[in-house]
Symmetry: C2
Subunit: 319 residues, 2 copies
């Protein structure tokens, strides 16, 4: 298939590399002035791996949207603007695959909602979620991921076209749960990093147990299936997010509590703001998200907030 | 309170040390010829920490059972024999606290069932479960654990008497779920070690997601609460079991697939045999337990069994 990937950062350039590798005709789009695109054009490398010649680099969005399938991997809060831009090219009968995790802060909306509202209804929207480090995929270490969509045929087409020995795709069956779960795991990742930074790594077990619970409650309140919090999109991504040295969110949390400088804010920084809003809207208590939010947005001390969470609660039940 | 801990291995000697430290009168019992007891008597050390003088070492079981509370930390398959021995001293109105994880292979029984059947009904039986590495507790790194019992007052007494800044106890409310979950986590730990040994560490996310699911199904079929698989006793213990360098079961799985020599069989080796039986009895599919069992008991190849589990399944659903 002809596939375009919009967004040429670490994950976007990996997806383009992967889809090229398994035989698709791939275009990788980035803005002309993007530092990632400039490096790709100059060095044919994304800093981790060489980009094969069969993969076409493109900086004209009009050309990029001509493919049948359009993957998108940009920062979540920028999706609405991209959709506005895409609209001007009137894409129709295409498959849009969101390869990104987040929730829009201003609206509390899921990413598929934002794109569906902005484009013609002949297009079908799907998500590609789940665990996996690009560094390990490049080494040939396989993993399982998930594709979900409201449209069964789109889901089947994408799973069949995108599966390989490197990535085994499963069929998602709960778009709300998978999107919220995938976004929320980044916040749990930040909390995990804070525990690491505070020398409380042992509490990551308790964090996993309570983290999944609160996200399960939110998903249920929003109309999804509680069990999705325990699926690939959320708990299944904890190895990558809560434990791995490669996890950007975990590292960000660790550096934050250690007072070290970090270059970029982690995606979970934005997601936690959106989750707090959703928690209020759906009347769901989110103690871990709340603790992370108190620390990052209100300057509360991480050690006190996290100890309160696990070690000083007077409630009888753990959940 | 006067507390005896029966079993002076790594965990038993830690519990005795801990209860002494928080102010109880503690007796640590071990058989006269036990290598652990001999070392304790000779060096006043368990190899990791010095045992304080206030802690009495005892090799006479008759004397040991005089305490009000009797903790037990031995290997699961030996519990029935110990209970036989305890019977001869006719203990009454005592609290027995099982600080151990497992299922009896021959009967498929939970450990509280074995002890309750063997002693006078005036005694109350509880379990002390959850995450924590002795190495980290000795360094002062805190964790959360759980105490469960059919008897609410026993549970409350134990939680209140045993909680401290180092261990925050929560009240369990599902004895079946907590016992099965705690035992089963050792099998997931072996599977995790196998993945590590096969350079498939990334699949530990998928392992956590599917591992909790199958154990949740088993717990439910046995009459417990599905959610317990996601509580402290099981998922909450994954940091310690699935990721930590200190996890005996994880290390055993890793050494097994690498063909390295190991000194002791891990507890999960016995538990998986019991779980397979329970799965048949309650008609619950346990794919991960089954894969571990196929490898350890039937000589199947770990790489094939584990890849089949995650990467080659033709089923649409992940769960």
């Amino acid at each position: 298939m002809k596939v375009t990937v919009i967004g040429c950062g670490r994950w976007g350039s990996f997806i383009a590399w992967y889809l090229d590798k398994i035989g698709h005709q791939v275009v990788l789009y980035g803005r002309e002035n993007s530092k990632h695109m400039i490096r790709l054009q100059e060095k044919r490398s994304n800093g981790l791996i060489e980009i094969p010649k069969t993969l076409r680099l493109e900086t004209d969005l009009k050309q990029a949207v001509l493919s049948d399938v359009i993957g998108i991997s940009i920062n979540s809060q920028g999706l609405r603007n991209l959709v506005q831009e895409l609209r001007s090219y009137h894409p129709k009968h295409k498959y849009f695959v969101l390869c990104m995790k987040g929730i829009e802060i201003s609206s509390g909306k899921r990413l598929t909602e934002i794109i569906e509202e902005g484009i013609d209804s002949s297009n079908k929207v799907a998500v590609w979620l789940g665990p996996g480090h690009v560094q390990e995929f490049y080494k040939g270490i396989p993993n399982c991921m998930v594709i979900d969509s409201k449209h069964d045929k789109a889901k089947e087409l994408l799973v069949l076209s995108f599966s390989s020995d490197l990535i085994r795709f499963y069929y998602g069956d709960d778009l709300i749960g998978n999107e919220i779960g995938a976004a929320a795991k980044n916040v749990i990742g930040i909390a995990a990093g804070m525990l690491d930074g505070l020398n409380l790594t042992s509490l990551k077990g308790a964090l996993m147990s309570r983290g999944t619970r609160e996200i399960a409650r939110l998903i249920k309140a929003m109309g999804g299936s509680e069990l999705s919090a325990y699926g690939l999109c959320h708990l299944g991504d904890y190895e990558a997010t809560v434990f791995s040295q490669f996890s950007h969110n975990r590292r960000y949390g660790e550096m934050y509590v250690k007072g070290e400088e970090y270059k970029d804010l982690a995606e979970g920084y934005y997601t936690v703001e959106a989750l707090i809003k959703l928690g209020k809207e759906y009347k769901v208590e989110l103690p871990i998200c709340n603790a992370v939010h108190q620390v990052l947005y209100n300057g509360q001390q991480a050690d006190l907030e996290l100890e309160k969470l696990f070690l000083r609660s007077l409630k009888k039940s753990f959940k």
